[in-house]
Symmetry: none
Subunit: 233 residues, 4 copies
Amino acid sequence: MPLPKFICGKAAEPPVKRERRKDARPGELLDAALELFVDKGFAATRAEEVAARAGVSKGTLFLYFGSKEELLKAVVRENISGRFAEWNHEFETFAGSTAEMLAYCLNTWWERIGATKASGITKLMIGEAGNFPEIAAFYQQEVVVPAQALIRRVLQRGIERGEFKPLDLDYAIYSVIAPMLFLMMWKHSGGACVPDGFELSPEDYIRHQLDTLLHGFQATPSTPAPPNGGRAA
Amino acid sequence: MPLPKFICGKAAEPPVKRERRKDARPGELLDAALELFVDKGFAATRAEEVAARAGVSKGTLFLYFGSKEELLKAVVRENISGRFAEWNHEFETFAGSTAEMLAYCLNTWWERIGATKASGITKLMIGEAGNFPEIAAFYQQEVVVPAQALIRRVLQRGIERGEFKPLDLDYAIYSVIAPMLFLMMWKHSGGACVPDGFELSPEDYIRHQLDTLLHGFQATPSTPAPPNGGRAA
Amino acid sequence: MPLPKFICGKAAEPPVKRERRKDARPGELLDAALELFVDKGFAATRAEEVAARAGVSKGTLFLYFGSKEELLKAVVRENISGRFAEWNHEFETFAGSTAEMLAYCLNTWWERIGATKASGITKLMIGEAGNFPEIAAFYQQEVVVPAQALIRRVLQRGIERGEFKPLDLDYAIYSVIAPMLFLMMWKHSGGACVPDGFELSPEDYIRHQLDTLLHGFQATPSTPAPPNGGRAA
Amino acid sequence: MPLPKFICGKAAEPPVKRERRKDARPGELLDAALELFVDKGFAATRAEEVAARAGVSKGTLFLYFGSKEELLKAVVRENISGRFAEWNHEFETFAGSTAEMLAYCLNTWWERIGATKASGITKLMIGEAGNFPEIAAFYQQEVVVPAQALIRRVLQRGIERGEFKPLDLDYAIYSVIAPMLFLMMWKHSGGACVPDGFELSPEDYIRHQLDTLLHGFQATPSTPAPPNGGRAA
DNA sequence: CATGAATGAGTGTTCATTCAT
DNA sequence: GATGAATGAACACTCATTCAT
């Protein structure tokens, strides 16, 4: 029933270069998966596409990852683990002012995460958390919680050193996080958050946000808070 | 096989939601679809689930919507149409200060959109924009662009009336949008943006953000801008 | 992307007669499955083949049976349940000699089970018991145990009534069962037990076996064989 | 690579199963395959499992056997070759009574086949004959036919020597075969023929069957049963 | 010779979509 | 109109087989 293999007049088609690079595969697959999952969503990405983009066959994918879901988990782990340990250390030994610290924090985040493919993970998680509670929990515990803890510590430091006014940390934290979230959505939401053609310099945006944030955080012992600044009813 | 529903002679039986008015069907389907699409993602939601939640059969869904994709489009359109026309009008005739206007703007947005299921659409679009460029374009044009225009107009008014300092609008806009985006993700990201147990009062959060924003926007009445405000290196 | 359906010059091919006979389906599928499972083994039978033989599409199969394994379970149940209840009753009220009873037993078994497709189930179970312990247990409990109990009761009766000599029932039972097993293998083993062309009359074989069995069972070796020793009609 | 077989000068060193002699490979693979095929069926056994059990890699299996099917064929052939030649000889020169001969026959069969893994082949063939007609034919010709011929010859001898009454050999043969078949199914059917916990002594069972058989076969209707009929030692 | 990474045809299962009732 | 039985294309995953090392 199967047609003869070399029926076409051409020469015997090169018999499928079977490379052999066991160690390189998983990484390539994870990269391919990250990109496709972020672009098209988990459910809409076919396992075979991932394999193809990594330059291997479908079977090979399952040689390294037991299932598509395992692949997703691995993608999340791969792009996250260890980031915060390193980061926390940097901040424990930071010498400058807390304003500088916050600036360093955001800029570094952009460089290391925001500007890289890793930032797509957040979008991915937003879309799939509902279907994969296990992965969502993992992400939350490995990323969300440490990230917030880190920011909280920075702001706390500012308050303790008298650089920042007494802040309601539970809210202030999200003043810091929201802009980062925004940047990631700008990059990955396909226009669902920012009009397509919009030119945005993330670095400028971050600088801008820092201005605003620090302006709001700063102690300003002299200037009394505006009587009731534009506060909404 | 199922017994007739009202076989028992007794009286009781409250108005029984009537047979289900024909005309209401599409709306119920759209509601069901919105909820499920937001919860589980488009691809992971089965057409039959939507139908079941709307209390109709699978076939009926396709009677009203030619395909699952059409249903998605309709969901997006349904939850957006006309919002901005109404809104724009309100703001053209707004009398108070621009600070009040911005406050009104955010609070109203929360009431009418943020707090409702409609806010899930944004999450939905973020996840599916990549797979449905047509819908993404539609959403952008019908929602994202008008929304930004509206905010831009508000900020512009503040500047023109001397209430706000000269702002770089292209960036300032996103200082307003980011917090709203954050609130929507807080509600819909299933813990991918905010730790699960975190208690947040959206109203307080908005008030907080307004404080910060207005503080930053305000036209330095007396105090000269700090030499180099907390700007980060 | 998919090619137009009716591109070929012919008239529009009859659009797939969609019959609609819900109640008939499961039975047809079970029959088809029994036959194929017995012929080719469970693992080597494709779900689609079963569906095709039942005249439905692959999807329809899974509409009625959650999985191929469920189908196997259903096949086993379908062809067994209730047989023994009925049978036991017949024997409780049996009036004749125990020799006649045993003859009736074997002959009836052949008519109702051995000669029908149901006899293939035994072969099926023999082959698949290792892979489906759950089904094997079910089969054992529903078929093997009751069958042996029934035969034991018959032999016991013979002994109690002085028709049979005192038998070691634990072994005697299998003298009765082995020939039946043999007949099933003859039918279903594809020549692995009996040479292919061998003509065997099951009825004659059973008569033969009965002769031998009764000869061996019968009490009073001194007494000349009864004029027509318990021979069954 | 494999060391010379008896290189070690010392005494101790029990044969240590040596590195694994090249020549032994196919045999080990055949043993492993037999066991797995019998336990799980042909289709449900993975080539890799067979290799693993034989202590070699998947690739090696295909070095010795062109395909899984070839392996099956080899398993069947391997466990059959020459058995009957040897056997036939033994019987041609048998000196005792035919009753003794039959007893010897069954007991020897149990020792050499029934009690060994080879008995699983029958079960295997029963299950797979349908899918591998070629193998089935081979098995039939190499095993089934000779086995029946042998038994036929024994019974014939009994008749010719006046030890047995005139038997309808076509049926009598199967009175001998059925119990052996039963024993194999008892061992290999996973409870599909005999309830799981049932304790059966094959030797006792065979003795029992011999009694019955000889009782039925024996000539001399007038003569009371011989003091110790053809009973086997 | 032996290995095990790589392949891809094959199969169970799902689900959007159709259509006879 | 409404229904839900039926369909079949699509996809995750398996595993016999190949072949570079």
